[in-house]
Each structure stands twice: as structure tokens, then as C-alpha cells.
């Protein structure tokens, strides 16, 4: 693999509006956290996409192994009662 000469990699999360979740928007290169925040601002919020930014060193993220996918996720396939659509909404219930 070629050596990355573009500083460290950071993952960027943008909150679209107040109270909402921070959603993964992409990644940026930066040598420190202040640069990561500014680069994220310049790359991902130029068109009013958000009001709050998180940046996290990519190296701090632990990901599940693709080989474990069957063990981790397949057991969810036949548990339809875990979905709210499995249940009938009672008459008159305003919010579920």
C-alpha cells in the first residue's frame, strides 16, 4: 500500500439540525484536531448542510470483521417481532 502523505485520517459527523443525530458525512485529512474541524467545515458544510460537526480520528474507530457478519447479523433475520410494524397499533393511540 502506498504511504499516505496527506496527514492523518479523521471521520466527520455532521448534525443537520439542532436535536438531530450526527450523521457520518465522510472523512478528511488533517495533522491535528483543529485542522480536522476546519477541513470538515470547508468540505462538508459549504452548502448549509449542518450546524454542528464532530471529528474523530479514524484510528479510534473499531469495525466489525466481515467474516463475523453471519454470526453478528443473521440471527436478526427471523425476529420480525423486533420491528414495530409487527404490532397492531391500538385505536386512538396518538404516538407509538
Amino acid at each position: 500500500m502506498a504511504t499516505d502523505t496527506q496527514f492523518d485520517l479523521w471521520e466527520v459527523f455532521i448534525q443537520g439540525k439542532s436535536g438531530g443525530h450526527h450523521m457520518h458525512a465522510g472523512s478528511v485529512h488533517a495533522s491535528d484536531k483543529e485542522m480536522a474541524l476546519k477541513n470538515a467545515r470547508d468540505l462538508y458544510t459549504r452548502r448549509s448542510e449542518g450546524g454542528s460537526i464532530w471529528v474523530v480520528p479514524s484510528s479510534a474507530i473499531i469495525s466489525s470483521a466481515p467474516d463475523d457478519a453471519a454470526m453478528l447479523f443473521d440471527p436478526a433475520n427471523d425476529k420480525i417481532y423486533r420491528h414495530p410494524t409487527f404490532y397492531v397499533i391500538p385505536e386512538g393511540a396518538k404516538q407509538i
Binding site: Q6, D32, K38, D42
Partner: protein, 182 residues
Amino acid sequence: MGSKEQLFKYLLRLGDNALIQGHRLSEWCSRGPILEEDIALSNLALDNIGRAQALLQYASEVEGNGHTADDLAYRRNERQYFNFLITELPTGNFAYTIAKQLFIGLYDVILFEALCKSTDVTIAGIAAKAIKEAKYHASHAGDWCLRLGMGTAISHDLLQNAINEIWMFTGEMFEMTGWIRI
């Protein structure tokens, strides 16, 4: 010189500073040290071009003889521009650009904070937008000054040399000569 003429010349001066600085910054487009910084510098350039557009638009209205903002931006000869010399200094290396950005950014923060209180509502409105941009520009340049100044011996020297060269151009920012360059 009437007050309308004075206002026109003052707007040209403000607008030309933004216009020339924006074009100098745009020279970094596709030549930034890394992709992200390339985009950052282009963003700063666009802030300046936008500010120039607003100021020269107002200047054209004050002038009132049918010139558009584009006419003022691109159809004058070089002696009819009133920008600070610091804005037209060559782009130079990255440290040189950062040193220029720091001086201009810090000045713009002071200037536009004051202009937010202008009795001219159009200028106050432009300043209210510009002050946010100026704070970001100063912060961006300030971060980079720390990085370069405390980075390697090479980055430190590049920045120090740039500051030594550019310092003399900051005096012009505080001259009270009206619109006439002497």
C-alpha cells in the same frame, strides 16, 4: 469632493481589497499542499469574491452612472484600483500566503466589527456578514501560524521570513488619507 464621491471611493477601497485578495487566494486552486487545504483556500477566495461583489454592487449604485459591479471589478485600469498593496503581493509559498492572511484577517476583524455599527445600513449589512467570514479567516491563518511556527526549522523560517517581508505593508491599513494614494 462630495460625500457621495467619498462614499464611492471608500466602497471601491473596501471592494478592491476583497477582490484582489480573493483573486490572489484563488491562485491556490489545484495547487494547495493537500486536497483539503486546497478547498479551504478556495473557500476563503470565494468569501472575498462574494464580499467584493456586494461592495462593488453598492459602489455602482452610489456612483449611479450605469456601471455594474462587474464593470467596476474588471473594466478599470490598474491606477484606478484602491486596494492595499498587501492584498496584491504575489501569492508566494504557503507560509507567505498564511502570513498575508493573518495580517489581513486580523485587520478585517477589527474593521468589520466597527463597520457593523455604521450608520450606512448597506455597509452595516455587508459588515455583519463579512465579520463572520473575517473571524474564520483569522482563525484559519492563526492556526497555521502556530503549526508552521512551531513545526520544523524550515517551516518556522519560511513563516518568519514571510512576516519580516510583509510587515512593512501593514502600515497602509492605518493611513487616514481618504481615497488618495500618496
